[in-house]
């Protein structure tokens, strides 16, 4: 009893002690919560909550026919955390077990290295214990999806150490294609943008949103419900560019530049009636080292179309217009070419060719592209009042920007009488396109105005702004000048330009052309920095429009040749590029639009059908038609041509790049064949193919439209 009592008071004392501690603990908890609570809660917010920017999706740039020219796609960089707990646990057994199969999968996916090489790389990283081992950059979404199914990687970030960082990059699906015009958006906002990407940056980029996020386990953040400003995605813009025309222009220009090893060049195609820019190709030489040799490739490195240079002979049209408008000359006015040289104020004007002609008409002087002729006429007309000539140039906006909706258009240089740049010889040299600088686009705009009967359209690139597929802002063609000169002058200019292609400098080029072209060649000796004109660098150009009797497109080609190039005349260098573009456009668009179906008189005795040989044989056998089979092949396309009562088979050649003849084919065969070649087929009528909009043997482009008529 004694002992237990002695113990009991100690027990109760201890119990009270425990209760007191409990009260102290509880008191502290109350203190933390009720008196310091605000402090801790706000600390919690600042530690775990953050306002994040939600990037808006950048808009897409489309061509006029709805193809994506520039769009945003996700890309991934892969890092490996070789110190990840899951990877290293049990001295890296997980890593070693998966190493071989993973290496094999990686080698199969990327196809750029052997499995052995990948294994080596991974082992090297594993040894280094690097926490952020850069494994690969710029992995696309498809590869990313596939990667996530690979051994080890599919175990997740903690076990594999694989970390994917996501970013959005700008992609031009057509690569080189109008690269400078569409522009770049380097590294999502960092660096300088150019072209349309910059011009319409505010439209494209949208507004980024904001949201409040709370960080939870695993470094993941979750948005907190009611605090979010939705990002407004960028608008899409539809350009006036046409994928087909751009491709044609780019290819034609590229071909000539490679052949001629030219320095740089550009080709512009305008839709005459509207001033829409259908194509704008810019190519510049870019030296590279390949197989240890110095060589060069051509890329879209600079927008030459909107950079001024001495235009040379294509400018003579402006001089002509000015003189005709002021009634200083008529087309028949005589001028003495002095055989091609003329000395004025101590300097000599040379014609580019030594032609030896003396007295010619003004029209002939233009067609021959005689510098002497133009300089002389201009001197006679304006030497007493050069400002009158300059005023004309001002009226046709030669001295100002075209106003095209792309950033980076540079100002032309036109000197004025009375300034320090003006001397006695400025005027005569200006008459044939020297002593001034204009951009190829200005030349194009001016020629377009001439083609458009004097109405100058402002060139433009933006067709419409779209938001989620809805057009929210459609741009209309804009008339810059209602009439650049009188109708009579326009008519005279038309005559002159057509004359160039019939009996002038471009006559050779357009001999036997199925449609009429109006244009002007240009060959300008350009200064090469401090070397002056001594290096013999010529800028060849061609400006014109077609078909001359009903102009649809205006095209300007300017190519700056290498020093002492073998060929440098406008008609030899820029002319063929123009002709190729014109030919392709004429067959695809112009002729198609004016195409009248011919009436074919049915004649049952003269027939031609195309089909699989074995099928045709079967038919012939059934209806007891005698036939002759030249070879034993069965599985080929043949045409069965009948003349009276004789039937012969002939093999149909089907290539991949040129248009096959569809005549006589059944609809099914024709469609299968054409769509297999990437053509879009439109059908009129029923029966067998009687007509095709793309003539047999012509080059075809992917996605081109083909109209097939059936009888």
């Amino acid at each position: 009893m004694e002992v237990k009592k002695d113990i009991l008071w100690r027990v109760y004392l201890s119990y009270i002690f425990v209760v007191v501690i409990c009260l102290v603990i509880f008191g502290k908890a109350v203190y933390i919560q009720q008196f310091q609570g605000h402090y801790w809660r706000s600390m919690s917010d600042s530690l775990h909550q953050k306002i994040e920017n939600v990037e808006a999706e950048r808009g897409t740039i489309y061509s006029e026919d709805g193809k994506m020219l520039s769009t945003s796609i996700p890309q991934f960089d892969i890092y490996i955390d070789f110190s990840a707990d899951g990877l290293r646990e049990k001295s890296g057994v997980r890593f070693r077990e998966n190493l071989d199969s993973l290496s094999l999968c990686l080698a199969n996916l990327f196809q750029d290295n052997t499995a052995e090489a990948y294994k080596k790389e991974l082992l090297y990283g594993f040894k280094s214990k690097d926490r952020a081992f850069l494994f690969r950059k710029n992995v696309n979404y498809r590869q990313y999806q596939e990667l996530k199914t690979f051994p080890l990687i599919r175990l997740g970030r903690n076990k594999s150490g694989f970390v994917f960082t996501n970013r959005t990059i700008r992609l031009n699906p057509y690569k080189l294609f109008a690269y400078r015009t569409i522009g770049l958006d380097r590294d999502s906002g960092k660096g300088q943008k150019v072209g349309l990407e910059q011009t319409y940056d505010t439209l494209l980029k949208g507004t980024s949103g904001k949201r409040l996020v709370r960080y939870i386990a695993g470094g993941v953040s979750v948005p907190i419900d009611d605090y979010q400003i939705e990002p407004e995605n960028g608008k899409d813009i539809v350009t006036t560019l046409d994928v087909f025309i751009q491709e044609v222009a780019e290819n034609a220009l590229m071909k000539m530049m490679v052949n001629n090893e030219a320095e740089h060049g550009c080709a512009i195609v305008l839709e005459t009636k509207t001033g829409k820019i259908k194509a704008m190709a810019n190519l510049g030489k870019f030296p590279i080292k390949k197989d240890g040799r110095d060589t060069s490739i051509y890329t879209e490195d600079f927008n030459y179309a909107i950079s001024p240079s001495e235009p040379g002979s294509t400018f003579k049209l402006a001089t002509m217009m000015s003189m005709l408008e002021d009634k200083k000359i008529t087309l028949q006015s005589q001028v003495n070419l002095n055989g091609g040289t003329w000395e004025i104020n101590g300097k000599t004007v040379f014609d580019s060719e030594k032609h030896g002609r003396m007295f010619v008409s003004a029209k002939e002087a233009f067609e021959l592209s005689s510098n002497v002729g133009l300089a002389k006429m201009a001197w006679t007309s304006y030497s007493s009042n050069p400002s009158q000539f300059i005023r004309h140039l001002h009226q046709i906006h030669m001295d100002t920007l075209t106003g095209i909706d792309i950033t980076g258009e540079r100002w032309p240089i036109i000197h004025r009488p009375g300034t320090k740049y003006w001397d006695a010889n400025t005027l005569p040299w200006m008459a044939f396109g020297y002593n001034l600088e204009v951009t190829p686009l200005q030349t194009a705009t001016f020629y377009n105005a001439v083609a458009n009967d004097g109405k100058m359209m402002r060139p433009y690139l933006l067709n419409a702004v779209k938001d989620e597929g809805e057009v929210i802002d459609a741009r209309e063609p804009y008339v810059a000048i209602d009439k650049i000169c009188s109708d009579q002058t326009i008519k005279d200019l038309h005559t002159c330009l057509e004359g160039v292609c019939i009996e002038g400098t471009a006559a050779q080029l357009f001999r036997n052309n199925p449609y009429k072209v109006a244009g002007k060649t240009g060959t300008a000796l350009v200064a090469n920095g401090s070397h002056g004109y001594a290096d013999g660098i010529y800028q060849s150009s061609f400006a014109g429009y077609f078909p001359a009797d009903n102009p649809q497109y205006t095209c300007v080609v300017v190519i700056k040749n290498k020093p002492h190039a073998l060929r440098f005349y406008g008609a030899e260098v820029a002319g063929p590029v123009f002709k190729e573009i014109a030919d392709r456009l004429y067959t695809t668009y112009v002729r198609q639009n004016n195409y009248q179906p011919k009436l074919v008189k049915p004649d049952s005795s003269f027939f031609s059908y195309v089909g699989l040989k074995q099928e045709i044989k079967k038919i012939a056998n059934t209806i007891q038609l005698p036939y002759k089979d030249n070879d034993g092949k069965e599985d080929e396309m043949v045409s069965m041509d009948g003349n009276r009562n004789q039937v012969s088979f002939s093999e149909r050649m089907i290539g991949n790049t040129s248009m096959p003849s569809l005549r006589g084919m059944g609809l099914k065969d024709a469609v299968v064949l054409c769509e297999g070649m990437g053509l879009k087929v439109k059908i009129k009528g029923r029966g067998k193919v009687s007509n095709q909009s793309i003539a047999a043997g012509q080059f075809i482009a992917h996605g081109q439209e083909l109209t097939v008529e059936l009888n």
Binding site: M1, V3, K4, D6, I7, L8, R10, V11, Y12, S14, Y15, V18, V19, I21, C22, V24, I25, F26, K28, A29, V30, I32, Q33, Q34, Q36, G37, H38, Y39, W40, R41, M43, S44, L47, H48, G156, N158, R214, Y215, I216, A217, G218
Partner: protein, 437 residues
């Protein structure tokens, strides 16, 4: 006929009452065990979200089922142990204590390192890490109860009463201390409390405290001195250096750091865990808190499912929930005292009392850490923290307490003695009856 007639089967009621009949001991303690187990399942399920993400790709059910499994094993352990006659534990205590010492030594040198200290050994086959100090503590307290009950006549004697108790305590504490100073201190303090209750001379206890205070005082003074000599920024570098060196010096660095953190921390630079724990407490209201499963701090508070579970309880269930848990432990301790009062035999009485106080003090320590009254230690909240070896050792303690309670009931004649297991209330091998009614 080999088949059984349904009528011959015991009724379902009967089967139920069979289990009820065999389940004895203090009803309150049983209720508390079940209650805490339920609370544990809820809180642990909520708190393991972050851990589940880290280890199992966010599959939190894994921890739910793990915890439920621990609950079942724990209940089975309690049931089994309470069916055993507690007098067996007197002998067992001695064996447990002797085996604990090599275990502690092994752990100290070869143990698995989890969170800095080498406190764990990994059991083969079942692949579970066991904190050997838990085992040692249980053994030590059982041993103290045994010695206290046997030496009551000579308890005031230094040589015969004091030394046989304090030496085992000192050995265990010294062996635990390098890896887990806080547990060592807690074990020492609990032992002293038990000694005080067990009528050990007050002078002797003060002496023991005095001797223990020397290394602790040294630690604090070193902490204060190094803190004053170096600006805060260099302390971090110092720590890194220390972690590179081997042996006890590593731990010494951590202790000093912790003591410094506790003494000098202003609100801006309190250690991360303490900061997060306080945020959790601040998040919970007075009455309701954020609600079950709505803890926010579980994502940031390390070990929120074990060492800091009390903070999560307050966050989810408010101060009221926190007070409730506290009261539950106080009732538990009170029932333990009641068993002590009722138990006529000295060993049983000390055993129940000692283990009840141990668990209550452990609970207090855990709560005190959560509200930052004491520095951060790795002590679990008994029965509530996520399962593991400490959970099972807690269950063993409770099973032993209930075993004593069951025998009390039998001696009081409330229930008929059963002939199950080695069940005999009679005094055995020198058990001294402390009092007779």
């Amino acid at each position: 006929m080999t088949d059984t007639l349904f009528s011959q089967m015991p009724t379902i009621q009967g089967m139920r009452s069979q289990l009820a009949l065999r389940t004895r001991g203090d009803k309150f303690i049983w209720a508390i065990v079940v209650l805490l187990a339920l609370i544990s399942v809820m809180v642990v399920y909520s708190a393991t979200g972050s851990l589940a993400y880290k280890m199992n790709k966010g599959n939190t059910e894994i921890y739910l089922f793990k915890q439920l499994a621990f609950m079942l094993i724990g209940l089975f352990i309690i049931y089994f142990l309470h069916r055993v006659n507690y007098s067996i534990y007197s002998k067992v205590a001695w064996i447990l204590f002797l085996t604990a010492i090599p275990f502690l030594i092994y752990t100290l040198f070869f143990g698995a390192k989890i969170n800095e200290g080498s406190r764990w050994i990994r059991l083969p086959i079942i692949n579970m890490t066991v904190q050997t100090s838990d085992y040692a503590r249980l053994a030590l307290f059982m041993y103290i109860s045994r010695v206290l009950s046997r030496k009551q006549e000579v308890i005031k004697n230094f040589k015969e009463g004091f030394l046989p108790i304090i030496i085992p305590v000192a050995v265990v504490c010294v062996l635990i201390a390098p890896a887990n100073l806080s547990t060592a201190l807690l074990t020492g303090a609990t032992s002293l409390l038990l000694m005080f209750i067990g009528r050990v001379s007050f002078k002797h206890i003060l002496l023991a405290i005095g001797v223990a205070a020397i290394p602790i005082g040294l630690l604090i003074s070193v902490a204060v001195l190094t803190h004053k000599n170096k600006p805060d920024t260099e302390l971090v570098g110092e720590n890194v250096k220390e972690e590179k060196s081997k042996g006890l010096m590593v731990r010494a660095g951590t202790w000093i750091k912790r003591v410094q953190d506790f003494i000098y921390a202003k609100n801006e630079d309190v250690p991360y865990q303490v900061q997060q724990s306080k945020i959790a407490i601040a998040n919970g209201g007075i009455l309701v808190g954020l609600g079950p499963g709505n803890s926010r701090q579980r994502n940031f508070l390390p070990h929120c499912y074990s060492d800091f579970i009390y903070a999560i309880i307050i966050e989810e269930y408010g101060l009221l929930g926190g007070a409730f848990i506290m009261i539950v432990y106080l009732i538990f301790l009170f029932r333990g005292i009641r068993i002590f009062r009722k138990c006529p035999y000295a060993f049983g009485a000390f055993l129940a009392l000692g283990l009840s106080f141990t668990l209550a003090i452990q609970a207090l320590a855990n709560m005190a850490v959560s509200v930052n009254i004491v520095p951060v230690t790795g002590v679990t909240l008994p029965l509530v923290s996520m399962g593991g070896s400490s959970f099972l050792f807690t269950c063993m303690s409770i099973g032993i307490i209930l075993s004593v309670a069951r025998n009390v009931e039998i001696t009081e004649g409330k229930v008929e003695p059963e002939s199950v297991l080695m069940d005999s209330p009679t005094t055995k091998e020198g058990e001294t009856a402390v009092a007779t009614a």
